[in-house]
Amino acid sequence: MNLLATQALAKSFGDNRAVDAVDFNVSEGEVLALIGSNGAGKTTLVNLVSGLLQPDSGQIIFAGADVTRQSSYERIKVGIARSFQIVNLFDQLSCADNIALSIFSREGKTAKLISLAGSDRAVWDEAHDVLRRFGLDRQMAVPAGTISHGERKLLDVAVAYALRPKLLFLDEPTSGVSTREKAPIMDVVTSIVRSGGITVVIIEHDMDIVFRYSERIVVMHQGSILADGTPDEIRRNDAVTTTLIGSYPTGEPVQGGTGHAGS
């Protein structure tokens, strides 16, 4: 069953058709990778679905309901969450605060004025649990602005995860992270979201990561969907290999390599 379906979704910036009549479907429970060269329209597509941008035309159907005109706030409430390509955290607040805010928000408690945030044990226990699962429990009381880049990338995902979304967009969860750190981050992230039954769409440039962690791959090129299939199908797709110069022509991905799509 489709959890998310866009119908002829379009968005232009001036003459540039960033997303051009795209029909993009995500099935419930899958881990899908959205790939394509820079400027292919991946992030714009995510921005449209998450509500950061309004489409020029087309529809967004989420869990059977039309959310095209809903605000980002309403979309979060129905279960669409995202992380950001450039880390977006509450830098002066502690890591635990960063997670607790998602929990407070999810439970509709952020409007509480006359109660101490610190006294809500259930929230902090859960925040600590989330941090522990992401391997960040030692940084619990440390301001989010002072932890390492790799940890920040994880925390960024954890903040979105703590909203307990149905659909989670991860916009380049390993960008700017050293090759050696990428796989551990992805291991943590995918195991957590799988165990939580969360449907995930990963935008990623690193082909090793894409082929290793995704169940389905959607390739975008110049605002349109070029190909859609399993990792094996995509690897054998000639259109994809000719478009994304520099990626794998055939065969198995090189473990630990640095293959980048079209960049």
Binding site: I76, A81, N88, L89, L101, A117
Partner: protein
């Protein structure tokens, strides 16, 4: 270590830390009128009142990341509300003054906030400045209502139904001082709870990263508006307490330079800490009182202090104290 133990121990240490501050501070404030001379007590009263206003102001600057240059509107609004209640309704009760100023500043800040919170940074600052100047020009021009530049006289009020004593100075430095101190204590407690509530955390999230705040489901514009209104009410209450002490509500407290003073005292104390605005407001009040007495060029003196402050203590008095404390802690 379990989560429970962590919270429990941090809670205990927080209580100890807060207590180590509050107990001596409260004792000093309670003893002050019996120890220091009346003039000093008067200055301290002005300082505590300014502190309430600065606390309100800092909910926006320190916790929500919005620099208002129009808080004179709420301070003046509170003071003029008192003056109007005296002049037109012949009211003399301080409790009614406070209730009236809460209502009036809430109304005013909803109106201003509705316009201003659509913007942030410099645009927000300029809008608050412009709107407050509108209020100032109204007070200035509608002299038959507001008394113009002469302002409106505010007599000493009744406190909890008790009529003021004949000796005005004695009344102000004793009964009125303790009244102000009580309101101040309530305001500090209330603000402390607000900034430590889930709502307060949400404001800090908006301050740090509004895009992300929006994407964890916080309605940023609405929350900014609520913060703006709370901030306006606190500053309005300060204005209401100020009016009987000063004996006069005049347009000087509506003009934008007065907003600048509120900004100054908050930065002086340190807007990154909770107590910073309180310390800054009291320090500023003393500084200004003595600067005015010392030289006619007091504004020059204050300006110099501000420049020195930004260069030497960029985090304000309390920021510097915290840095010293953490250095000392590491050394020991």
């Amino acid at each position: 270590m379990s989560m429970g133990a962590v919270t429990a121990s941090s809670k205990v240490s927080t209580t100890v830390r807060v207590g180590a501050w509050i107990v001596p501070a409260a004792a000093l404030l309670l003893a002050a009128p019996f120890v220091i001379d009346p003039f000093q007590t008067l200055t301290l009263t002005y300082g505590l009142i300014a502190a309430i206003g600065a606390l309100g102001f800092n909910l926006l600057l320190g916790y929500t990341g919005l620099l208002s240059f129009g808080h004179s509107a709420f301070f003046g609004g509170g003071a003029y509300t008192v003056a109007f209640l005296v002049k037109y309704l012949k009211i003399a009760s301080m409790e009614l003054f406070l209730a009236g100023s809460v209502l009036a500043s809430a109304l005013l800040s909803v109106l201003f906030g509705y316009v201003c919170v659509r913007y942030t940074r410099i645009f927000f600052g300029i809008l608050t400045l412009a709107l407050s100047q509108v209020l100032w020009s109204l007070a200035f021009k509608f002299f038959w209502v507001t008394g113009g530049t002469d302002g409106l006289r505010v007599p000493t009020p009744t406190l909890l139904g008790a009529a003021p004593t004949d000796d005005k100075m004695d009344f102000l430095v004793h009964r009125y001082y303790f009244y102000v101190l009580a309101v101040f204590a309530v305001c500090v407690l209330l603000m402390w709870v607000i900034v430590h509530s889930p709502f307060g955390k949400a404001l800090q999230a908006i301050r740090d990263n509004e895009t992300r705040a929006e994407f964890i489901g916080i309605r940023i514009r609405r929350y900014r508006l609520i913060a703006f209104v709370i901030s306006g009410i606190f500053t309005g209450v300060a204005g209401a307490l100020w009016a009987p002490l000063n004996g006069l509500a005049s347009p000087d407290i509506l003009v934008w330079t007065f907003s600048g003073e509120i900004v100054f005292m908050t930065v002086l104390g340190g807007f990154r800490t909770f107590v910073g605005p309180i310390v800054g407001a009291v320090a500023f009040t003393y500084l200004k009182t003595y600067a005015v007495g010392f030289t006619v060029y007091w504004q020059l003196l204050l300006g110099t202090v501000l420049v020195a402050l930004v260069l030497v203590l960029p985090t304000g008095i309390m920021g510097a104290v915290e840095q010293l404390a953490s250095k000392w802690k590491r050394a020991s």
